[in-house]
């Protein structure tokens, strides 16, 4: 927990005023335990009130503060600055290829639109049972991973397929789709496969694995996508009966 001076090099951009983004440097004293988010607040409070970034929980669970920190997409609130001390300027830029609201804050509208296209909700068998659905511990394990997604957008914004093809659902939305496909309580696997097997669905993934690299929750969207490719293909071969639960 060393202390020392740190220079942040922040990508600034105000779409209403600037033509192109530019870098601006801020030097600040670090203290033990300081996170990148703390550093940004230090700048906001005492150096430049015009800085903009997103934040909320500051505990790595809400997914607001994803940005590119030192060449890698990370959560600002979870990233200690000490690891960057003495390694030159620490560069901060917004999530790649997202519309910028201002500086480090990006617009998530398109991200959530993509998500909404995969029916991101459980459609259980109705009428609902009087109590809970029975789901064994083993069945619950199938969704242990994908439910941990905090929708931070890191993966989809790091996938170049999602950059150039705005129809492509992207890893986050596909992982969400998988989360419901794998849930034993869900009752509409065919609808889900219909959505993800279109040309802007799973086939657009070319296993770049960027999504796996950047996920702050260490999830594996690629694996989910690959599993869905197989499911969709099997259904094509053997017909719809094969996918009914």
């Amino acid at each position: 927990m060393a202390e020392g001076d740190l220079t942040l090099k922040v990508q600034r951009f105000d779409p209403t005023a600037d033509k192109l983004p530019y870098w601006q440097s801020f030097t600040l004293k670090t203290r033990p335990g300081m996170t990148v988010l703390d550093a940004l607040f230090e700048v906001l409070n005492h150096q430049d009130g015009t800085l903009a970034f997103r934040f909320c929980c500051r505990a790595g669970v809400c997914g607001s503060c994803a940005m590119v920190i030192g060449g890698k997409v990370r959560l600002a609130c979870e990233t200690q600055v000490v690891q960057f001390l003495g390694k030159g300027d620490l560069m901060l830029s917004p999530l790649p290829h997202q519309p910028v609201v201002k500086d480090l804050a990006v617009d998530y509208t398109h991200f959530f639109d993509r998500l909404k296209r995969v029916k991101p909700y459980l459609v259980g068998k109705e009428p609902y049972p009087e109590k809970e659905y029975i789901q064994s511990i083993k069945e619950r394990q199938l969704i242990n991973d994908p439910i941990d997604c905090i929708l931070c957008g890191s993966c989809t914004s790091s996938c170049t397929m999602a950059w150039t093809n705005s129809d492509y659902l992207g890893p986050a939305a596909l992982l969400k789709s998988y989360r419901f496909l794998a849930d034993t309580r869900d009752n509409v696997p065919d609808d889900r496969l219909d959505i993800i097997e279109g040309e802007s669905g799973v086939w657009r993934c070319h296993t770049q694995f960027n999504c796996v690299e950047v996920c702050p929750k260490k999830l594996n969207p690629t694996e989910a996508i690959q599993k869905m490719k197989i499911k969709a293909f099997k259904r094509k071969l053997f017909g719809r009966r094969g996918t009914k639960k």
């Binding site: 129809d167 040309e199 086939w203 293909f233």
Partner: protein
């Protein structure tokens, strides 16, 4: 508010993907046979000392139906795989997705045209040795 759009076309997605994998595996086989046939196999005694591919040698090989099948099959596979792959690359970009129809037609025309071209090219070899 925001309309829930359903994915666009699902005409070829699954098959295009599956075909790319199947053709890939087939290509490995074809390529193996082709290379072996072209460079390592002795077709006739007179070419035994001659490492370079010659017209006669090729013609000789192409006299046999098997090689015709292998070569034409490989050519069509390569074309299908290559152009299908190229199509995938194009459709990774919005601007081409918007011209989907046009691209699909063009690729088919180019593909079939090239195939015919390829077939015609080999005629002299086939007829050359036969005649």
């Amino acid at each position: 508010m925001s309309e829930q759009r359903v994915s666009t076309s699902k005409v070829a997605g699954t098959w295009a993907w599956a075909f790319q994998r199947i053709s890939a595996v087939l290509l490995i086989v074809f390529l193996g046979v082709h290379l072996y046939a072209a460079h390592f196999m002795d077709v006739g005694a007179e070419t035994g000392e001659e490492p370079l591919i010659t017209f006669d040698e090729v013609s000789l090989r192409l006299d046999q139906l098997l090689y015709i099948v292998v070569d034409y099959g490989m050519l069509s596979m390569i074309l299908l795989h290559g152009l299908n792959g190229f199509r995938t690359v194009l459709f990774d970009f919005d601007m081409f997705v918007r011209r989907k129809k046009l691209i699909d037609v063009t690729l088919w025309v180019v593909g079939i045209g090239t195939l015919i071209w390829g077939i015609v090219i080999l005629f002299p070899f086939i007829s050359g040795a036969g005649g």
